[in-house]
Symmetry: C2
């Protein structure tokens, strides 16, 4: 079998990116070679550098270049409350609300038995060690509200409640600014069941 | 201003890829770091290696690792006819029809005055030198059948006819507005057979 050319290897490598098929990978490779060789250099260096530099935060499990990430190292955060999210992006969304001052644990995924993603893949042991450090009092489960996120929240919640921790879940309901006409019936049903007295 | 972290640099680098926005770039970076570090390594190495190895064919202008590409070096091709295409993908589509035995010239783009892409950006001087080598008798213009491709074909056609060359254009079996990369080989084959002198 003929060895792959440098160009073929470049296209194969780009196909490893999620959501990139053979046509896109080919288009990307041609674009970089023809119009943005500097970008290709930047991409190559950034990949190799990131692999060397980036590890998981020893405390919250997010990506960081240090033993502990900036958020975990921030002495002004409330250490008694731990918010469990699926990804760094979800953590960022919560940070942007400016309403949460506790710490985080980033699962880097969600339980998905059909895809072979079990408790060890979402760092459950690390989460248990973190949550039972004697300082954390409450866990806020902020996984997504789809099937897998709900199942993940349920599994983690039961596990941590068995360790004597207080566990809560983000409230569900009609989005702020949401018009009932455009909200799905499942959300409205949940909002009715979870109604709060005013 | 704070220096970009390795992760931010990785995301910035992925955004240089055509069609990749901030959300996709972030998702790609997390995926590679979390689930495919080997893929990230492959991508990094493939980029840097490609930049070192890949140059333009001295004859047809396509990407190659040698002074002259495999197609141009193939002694069985008909050297009297030269097919002008916009990209290596378009050349590949024509090759797949198995109906064309001549050689190619790859413009690596098309004229687009609004984007500042002029004759020098599509290697017109190199094409003229190639086409006037005394061996080439006919030029088949196989640029795309959209506005820019047609304008490019017209411009090149007039230039080469002024040099005394016979110039033809793929027949309009290709749908108007269609891009070669997305047309079935049968249609392209018919268009080659029906090519018309211009
Ligand atoms: Zn951390
Ligand atoms: Zn060539």
């Amino acid at each position: 079998m003929k060895e792959l050319s440098s160009l073929d290897q470049m296209i194969e490598a780009l196909r490893r990116l999620p959501g990139v098929g053979p046509k896109s990978a080919t288009r990307m490779a041609y674009h970089l070679l023809q119009h943005d060789r500097e970008g290709a250099q930047f991409l190559g260096n950034a990949m190799l550098n990131a692999l060397q530099q980036i590890r998981h935060c020893g405390s919250c499990n997010t990506f960081t270049e240090n033993a502990v990430c900036d958020t975990c190292a921030d002495a002004s955060r409330d250490t008694s409350i731990l918010c469990v999210v699926e990804s760094p992006s979800d953590q960022l969304m919560i940070e942007q609300t400016m309403t949460y001052k506790g710490l985080y644990f980033v699962l880097m995924g969600r339980l998905s038995p059909l895809d072979g993603i079990g408790p060890q893949d979402i760092y459950l042991d690390k989460l248990i060690r973190r949550a039972t450090d004697g300082v954390v009092e409450e866990i806020v489960l902020a996984t997504n509200f789809n099937n897998e996120g709900e199942a993940t929240a349920h599994y983690i919640g039961e596990t941590l409640k068995a360790k004597g921790l207080k566990v809560s879940r983000l409230a569900r309901g009609v989005p702020v600014g949401g018009e009932l006409e455009y909200v799905d019936p499942g959300t409205i049903a949940r909002a009715i069941l979870d109604r709060k007295s005013t």
